[in-house]
């Protein structure tokens, strides 16, 4: 029997990390932050990134947007191309140096910085230290507005019903669904409606959507069906990957319902306008 285990790493057993405690937020607003725009926002939803900047500036925060930034590395990481992901992650790391908070208008990319960079650099002790410090100062936009800026939004819009879709990694890694709900609750004329199977994945999953288009398509068909059935006039999400998936499917189905980035909605409702 013991020969079964001849090649086992000694003491290789892993225990799950401790139950996470609620995140502690800085007591006061910082003077400056970095915005990490993410590649999908950059090329497909730049207005969402601009509205994130405007929301932050309205809170009296100076926003720096390092022009060298590109992608957090998630697509390669989740596809199993770890070395390529690390190369790209390292470049972002250098741009986000110092102790300025990093605000990300996308939950899954924020989750990548906060939760998975440590895995990428687990064998580089010095980089790992930097990465852990970066994780501590990385915030998803809704989270940052709510808990660090303690934003108070004043609703200037007409009554509207909205459905909120939260990306799975944002929900599970960043609690973004709770932050989004709390921000929407500040808007007096906005009614947030639940949709059936709200916590279920929209089927995007990065490269999953093109590797398994049949399954992904069945998932987004159900998601869009449930969103339409909710009676919402508008779909909101803090994650542009999901938005691309949901909006692309709705457009293909020739539906009029669309998803909008939460930042754009918040900015427009609370007096930003355009």
């Amino acid at each position: 029997m013991s020969e079964l285990f001849y090649n086992a790493v000694p003491n290789a057993t892993r225990v799950a990390p401790p139950i996470p405690q609620p995140r502690q937020y800085p007591a006061s607003k910082p003077a400056r932050v970095y915005l990490f725009g993410t590649c999908v926002v950059d090329l497909f939803y730049p207005e969402a990134g601009m509205d994130a900047i405007r929301l932050l500036e309205r809170e009296g925060i100076r926003v720096d947007f390092p022009q060298g930034q590109s992608c957090c590395g998630q697509p390669a990481y989740t596809s199993g191309y770890t070395d390529q992901a690390r190369t790209v992650a390292r470049a972002q790391l250098a741009l986000l140096a110092g102790d300025q908070p990093v605000v990300v208008p996308s939950g899954s990319c924020a989750g990548m910085l906060r939760q998975h960079y440590a895995d990428l650099f687990k064998d580089e002790p010095e980089t790992l230290e930097q990465v852990q410090a970066l994780a501590e100062r990385t915030f998803e936009l809704a989270e940052f507005l709510l808990h660090v800026c303690k934003v108070q939004l004043k609703d200037n819009g007409q009554p509207v019903k909205v459905a909120l879709h939260t990306s799975c990694s944002a929900r599970r890694e960043m609690n973004t669904h709770l932050h989004g709900r709390a921000l929407l609750a500040q808007l007096t004329n906005v009614e947030r409606v639940e949709h059936s199977h709200e916590s279920e994945c929209c089927g995007f999953g990065g490269t999953f959507s093109v590797r398994m288009p049949d399954i992904s398509g069945a998932m987004v068909a159900d998601k869009t069906h449930n969103l339409k059935a909710s009676g919402a006039h508008q779909v909101l999400s803090a994650d542009c990957g999901c938005l691309m998936n949901i909006n692309g499917a709705l457009e293909k189905q020739r539906e009029t319902l669309r998803g909008q980035h939460l930042a754009t909605f918040l900015w427009q409702r609370s007096g930003g306008g355009r």
Binding site: A12, D42, V63, G206
Partner: protein, 485 residues
């Protein structure tokens, strides 16, 4: 019943994707799974009403399993010693062929002809029914769900509820066709029909086979949970009992069973405890009036030691086979268990099957997930399933001849072309000048964006880049605001 010929569970389609395509187009299957999984998710949520208690218990379950795995070789030896002391004969099998050989030799020694089997996924791994049938021995499933799938020459589609892909009407037709009984959709009547057949078989069987939920090293006890009583009948009525299980099922002591059992039944079915909890600690003693005269335990490796050898992949062996990961999986819910084409479906199937059959046989398993994380969130023993899927993707795209392989079939999805694409992607995203040039052309030439973009446009309209990138807009805006661009 007619169980001579081995008919495959599903038509042998080429691969996972074509089976998935077919399943997605079957509205009956889709609605059977959706409604069953919805109900199981609700039951679990109700059973774990207090999230703090749930998280504490999951942490404990994880710690108990991790402790057992940290001393697995020692615990297995202790288990063997204590079972032997209790009069149980212990056998070791590295492969399913060896395991079937052991079972066969026990059957031969008794000149047995009829075997009755309680629910056991390890016996499914062994394809025991077919192995025995090939030698002219009848092996009848006594779990109602297993009985139904056996009657229809199928494989289980779920590890806890093997016939979950069928609704009552489909079972009614099956019983009517195969057993010649009157057509009825009444579930209680259907159960009574099955029960009448099985009752007789319990009395006739020469050998009873069962699985094991927890093998307790300190006391030499085999713990088996079930709700129908068939497990107790299979392990006590026939003169010989053969238990089959995987080497990872060992726990240190009976105290360890308490949290695991609570996690198991609540995660699986949302129930506080099963109707039957069998604790088997040996054959009938001279002063006892019932129970089997012989008890055997077959401990099967079948690839588990490969997972054990790697610190990260070892966590796969935490599994207590509750099925919660599949109940909560948006992929499993839509394609059903047979699409996976192997014994263990769903998220746990995707991470454990590659160790059993090699990655090359299930090359799509690691990719068939959006990594949504629902499975990892509900796993009672906190297996980081999404992280392990990602790790398997990494193993899957490695060059097949990479040094220090950690698993059989490594590199089954290796593609030079895809690797070059990701290398190019990395170069583009690492060099700001290249990235800028790329985004310049992508935004300025947006009207030239293709109308059909591979599989994406199967479900979506073609994506069209924005007119200007955020880089551009932010630079302009921040120059006015005094931020550092």
């Amino acid at each position: 019943m007619n169980s001579q010929a081995r008919i495959p569970a599903v038509e042998i389609d080429d691969d996972f994707r074509s089976r998935a395509h077919k399943a997605l187009g079957d509205p009956q299957l889709r609605s059977n799974f959706r409604s069953a999984m919805d109900s199981l998710m609700t039951k679990r949520a109700v059973a774990f009403a207090d999230p703090d208690e749930r998280e504490q218990l999951r942490a404990l379950g994880n710690a108990v399993r991790a402790r057992a795995l940290s001393k697995l070789p020692d615990l297995l030896e202790t288990l063997e010693r204590n079972l032997t002391r209790n009069g149980v004969k212990v056998h070791w099998a590295e492969t399913v062929e060896q395991a079937n050989g052991i079972v066969q030799s026990i059957i031969d020694a008794h000149g047995a002809k009829q075997v009755i089997k309680g629910k056991s996924m390890v016996s499914e791994e062994m394809e025991m029914n077919h192995a025995l049938e090939a030698r002219g021995i009848e092996c009848l499933e006594s779990d109602m769900g297993e009985y139904i799938v056996q009657l229809d020459h199928e494989k289980p589609s779920h590890i806890i509820m093997p016939a979950i892909h069928k609704n009552a009407g489909q079972v009614a037709s099956l019983f009517h066709d195969k057993l010649g009984v009157e057509y009825t959709k009444d579930v209680d009547q259907l159960i009574q029909i099955g029960r009448r057949v099985l009752r007789q078989k319990f009395l006739e069987a020469d050998i009873g086979v069962s699985g094991v939920n927890f093998a307790v090293a300190e006391t030499g006890t085999l713990l088996l949970v079930e709700n129908e009583g068939n497990g107790r009948m299979s392990t006590t009525v026939p003169p010989v009992h053969i238990a089959v299980t995987g080497i990872e099922k060992v726990v240190e002591n009976l105290r360890d069973v308490v949290p695991l059992l609570s996690l198991l039944t609540r995660s699986a079915l949302g129930i506080p405890i099963t109707t039957y909890v069998n604790m088997i600690s040996g054959p009938r003693q001279p002063d006892e009036r019932d129970g089997p005269q012989e008890v055997h335990l077959v401990l099967l490796d079948n690839g588990r030691s490969q997972a054990f050898a790697d610190g990260e992949l070892r966590q796969t062996l935490n599994c207590i086979r509750c099925g919660a990961c599949m109940n909560h999986c948006p992929v499993y819910t839509r394609v059903g268990g047979h699409t996976y084409g192997e014994v263990y479906p769903g998220p746990i199937g995707k991470i454990i099957t590659p160790h059993m059959v090699g990655l090359a046989k299930v090359p799509d398993h690691p990719s068939a997930s959006s990594l949504c994380g629902a499975c990892g969130e509900v796993c009672p023993v906190k297996i980081p399933i999404p992280a392990l899927l990602r790790r398997l993707r990494e193993e899957n795209v490695k060059a097949p001849d990479s040094p220090h392989p950690v698993m059989r079939g490594q590199g089954s999805k290796y593609s030079r072309k895809e690797r070059l694409i990701w290398n190019a992607w990395a170069t583009l995203n690492r060099h700001p000048v290249l990235y800028k040039a790329f985004s310049f052309f992508a935004t300025r030439l947006r009207h030239l964006a293709p109308k059909h973009v591979g599989p994406w446009t199967q479900n979506h309209s073609a994506p069209k880049p924005a007119a200007r990138s955020l880089h551009d807009m932010a630079r302009e805006h921040l120059a006015q605001q005094g931020g550092r661009p």
